[in-house]
Point group: C2
Chain length 236, copies 2
Amino acid sequence: MDNIYYKIYRDYAKQIQNGILRPHSKLPSENELAEAYTTSRETVRKGLNLLAQNGYIQKVKGKGSFVLPIDRFDFPVSGLVSFKELAAKMRESPVTRVVSLEASLAGEEIASRLKVGPDEPIWKVVRTRTMDGEAIILDKDWFLQSCVPDLTKEICEDSIYQYLEKTMDIPISFAKKVITVEEATEEDSSLLDLTRHELIVVVRNYVHLEDAQLFQYTESRHRPDKFRFVDFARRQ
Amino acid sequence: MDNIYYKIYRDYAKQIQNGILRPHSKLPSENELAEAYTTSRETVRKGLNLLAQNGYIQKVKGKGSFVLPIDRFDFPVSGLVSFKELAAKMRESPVTRVVSLEASLAGEEIASRLKVGPDEPIWKVVRTRTMDGEAIILDKDWFLQSCVPDLTKEICEDSIYQYLEKTMDIPISFAKKVITVEEATEEDSSLLDLTRHELIVVVRNYVHLEDAQLFQYTESRHRPDKFRFVDFARRQ
DNA sequence: TAGTGGTCTAGACCACGGG
DNA sequence: CCGTGGTCTAGACCACTAA
């Protein structure tokens, strides 16, 4: 709310998402925006660069900034987007079921993934995601208890990210994501509505706080035919 | 090239990749860097922000900028990285085989993907990528001939991206990438060394020029057990 | 308190595009 | 030519960290 450049980013991102600003239309020039927001050109440019990085606009030297004609529907699946945020952009109504929620010690495998000792207290959450009556995603989350003291079934049924960021004010900073395809396990078969495919798309997410501390490891296991990952990337 | 902030980015990216700067070590402060490069702090900050966006460093208010302890091996698979660039970072020696290279008209499906008419002249390139003696990736590329006049088998065996950027000076700007898992086709089976899996990971890439014109469509079809996609993402 | 990064300003010069 | 975005400057104030 405070940042001027972030307000410019939000203002135009919203207008582009709502279709108020049509694809290929031209934004005001940087000088005009600086006047409109009573700020300097460099501040305007920070806002416009955010829009460009996130695929909203294209800046062309000597001409101006233009709205990109990209489908905003399937879009921000890239980056650090949680299931709840993703589902909000879709037509179907998804259901989250909490299979288990337990406080325990890390153990061998998770300890190595979270780079802590095997006796580190952690939360383990297992959830399934159902769309159109079919359980198609199995989400397994491990959190450091030292970062998240309380966790309830109600929070897990909603969005854990929202709880951490909005309610707890825990600053999530960055994440590394690894996508592979692996053999389905017995757990996958028992908790998901698998069709004939014996393969599962596994998205491993290593989530870090602002001080770069690794605090969460997530495995999101998707039925292959329902998996879709979209990414927007700029050169340099 | 001459950009000061880009030089700062390259200098430190290289030092971090080479291990000259160890993980968790502290970079000089922004004021010190401004002096060292005889430039202003805002310019230094642009370089540091590039490093942060690409996962090299973490900036902490009141403390400084620190090298992130992230495996740089499997890393820049994110973004607009071509097979050649990717392979250069791996131990194995990959082989590219050009299956076909032809000039033709777009036709129905490709015309809709490239958003041109079906009579638009295009290049179609089909290549297989072999590692450790197994053909594991099938790459199918379509280019607008209006953007790329000449294309030879030799160029396709090397890196098309390198040819476009370095030799032709065609400015690639951004790309949208969609990853899905689909049934293997007969073409997949005949050109790749598939194991029992009947599924193929399909990475569709829509590549745009600086004026936002869509000029290339690529389908990269991977054997599931050899597929791996890594992504680094920052919140906001 | 001193040093750090985060934001912002009010200029400047440049390269590019189109009339 | 003028307007555009790209780069850069030399300051400023703030919030945060650590001694």
